[in-house]
Symmetry: C2
Subunit: 116 residues, 2 copies
DNA sequence: TGAATTTATGCGTATATCTGCATACATGGT
DNA sequence: ACCATGTATGCAGATATACGCATAAATTCA
């Protein structure tokens, strides 16, 4: 019984990690932290969101183990915990652009050059 | 203005794809479909969920473009739209197991061989 | 046309998440 | 001790999602 519920537990954790990616702001945060570590308020300003929102989103990413934070004086520096997260995001972005291209091509066959 | 809101739109779609992965049942469905295409009720039985739940989850995956469905007689066969989704899931699973291993190792240094 | 099989969906409920605002908490410098 | 700066959080409201049950809709076959 332990092992069957164990795999369920792992799948649940797997889904938790995916949930962490299921928000536009958090995706932007992850890409930003991939560029360079940053603290909450800098991130908030960079992305044009409130400090409150940035703090909560970072907390979600921390809980799921995608971001590591450490105090540096007054501020807390956040950084990516594992760059494979970015690889995964890039793969999913590629899935998206493929789909969009297919749709565009399909639309073209129906109604040639219908741009607005 | 169009282009700035365009990138926002793409990030939103990116997050939509990630949301599709943010559920344990849907993760199981994707891995199952990666093994072989299947119809709703077969999938429901295989995963031990109701037909209703399977149908709705498949609909989510279809809306996000991760699963393609086509009628085959009475039933509707569902299949993965893009295997890169599995690659992404595998990457994220690797992130998870790395983290779990680190935690286990850390626990070991504190309280050696504390298994139950 | 009518019965059987497979899917989809309306409904109600429970739960989760996001957000801004205001405020508490933590740290560093004076 | 006090103030400034940076960060976390309680609260309330809005929105989204998952679920089971029952039932509608689609398709095939007799």
């Amino acid at each position: 019984m332990i092992s069957s519920s164990l795999s369920q537990e792992i799948t649940a954790l797997h889904a938790d990690i995916c949930s962490a990616l299921a928000d536009p702001v958090r995706i932007l945060i992850l890409y930003a932290l991939n560029e360079k570590p940053s603290n909450v308020s800098a991130l908030a300003e960079e992305l044009g969101i409130t400090q409150s929102a940035a703090s909560r989103h970072l907390n979600v990413l921390r809980e799921r183990g995608l971001v590591i934070s450490q105090r540096d004086g007054q501020s807390v520096v956040n950084m990516l915990a594992d760059s494979r997260v970015i690889q995964a995001l890039d793969l999913l972005r590629a899935v998206l652009t493929s789909k969009l291209k297919n749709q565009a091509a399909l639309a073209e066959t129906i109604e040639p050059s219908e741009t607005e």
